[in-house]
Subunit: 121 residues, 2 copies
DNA sequence: CAGCATCCGGGATGATACTG
DNA sequence: CAGTATCATCCCGGATGCTG
């Protein structure tokens, strides 16, 4: 079992140094909105409008930007149907599901301990 | 096993809604520098100067600010020794270690898959 | 050595209006 | 409905200088 950054570095080399790809990925998936969008999509496929409502407080601009980033990262798949009115659906890719498999335990912990942590502030 | 946001909400109530404590905690521990500082401390106790060097690219201001936030969240412990010159050590609290136990698998996944994800950009 | 105070620029973010 | 375009704003975060 991995218990330290040193161990991760041993097996993966120069990770989390400045300019390292790991920093970029961290910025994408651990960003304010990135986590919440990924989390919403863990439930399954969602339409644009559904995401806008599910991820409370997100602006259209940030939703679009976040989705584009995650899509270009290969974590989210975008499917648009040539209908009128337009319908676009977003879902996790296999890679995205793999990611969430590792992120959900963390998120669950946060959900359980948030009150404990924040109460001190 | 938890596989969706809905399941987390069922057991924990209104989480990840606007203004919810979970949002605040997420902002702290998933912030750009928060993750990296926590990660550095997973190796064990570190002095201020060590952290400054270990977390590449962080400014003094952000290191101080990040540490203060994490300390008030009860995730990081600060110990100052009344010596000249001053010596201050930071380490994870029990709560912090519990958190990292859940975050490390995610970080490890990122380290392994970062190149795959970023290559597309 | 370990920080805090202050200033300040720019990118991140929000609000609004508009379009295919 | 699903976005884009534009403009205004805010605050993150860097640089610098100082202190115990």
């Amino acid at each position: 079992m991995v218990v330290s950054l040193a161990q991760i570095r041993e097996s993966s080399g120069e990770v989390f140094m400045e300019g390292c790809p790991t920093r970029v990925v961290l910025d994408h998936i651990m960003s304010k909105w990135g986590v919440l969008v990924l989390l919403a999509l863990t439930d399954g496929t969602h339409r644009w409008g559904e995401l806008r409502r599910e991820v409370e407080g997100i602006s259209e601009k940030m939703l679009a930007s976040t989705l584009r980033t995650l899509e270009s990262d290969g974590l989210v798949a975008r499917t648009s149907y040539p209908e009128v009115p337009p319908r676009v659906e977003y879902s996790l890719t296999d890679l995205g599901r793999e990611l969430m498999q590792h992120m959900l335990p963390l998120v669950e912990w946060v959900a359980r301990n948030a009150d404990t942590v924040v109460a001190r502030a």
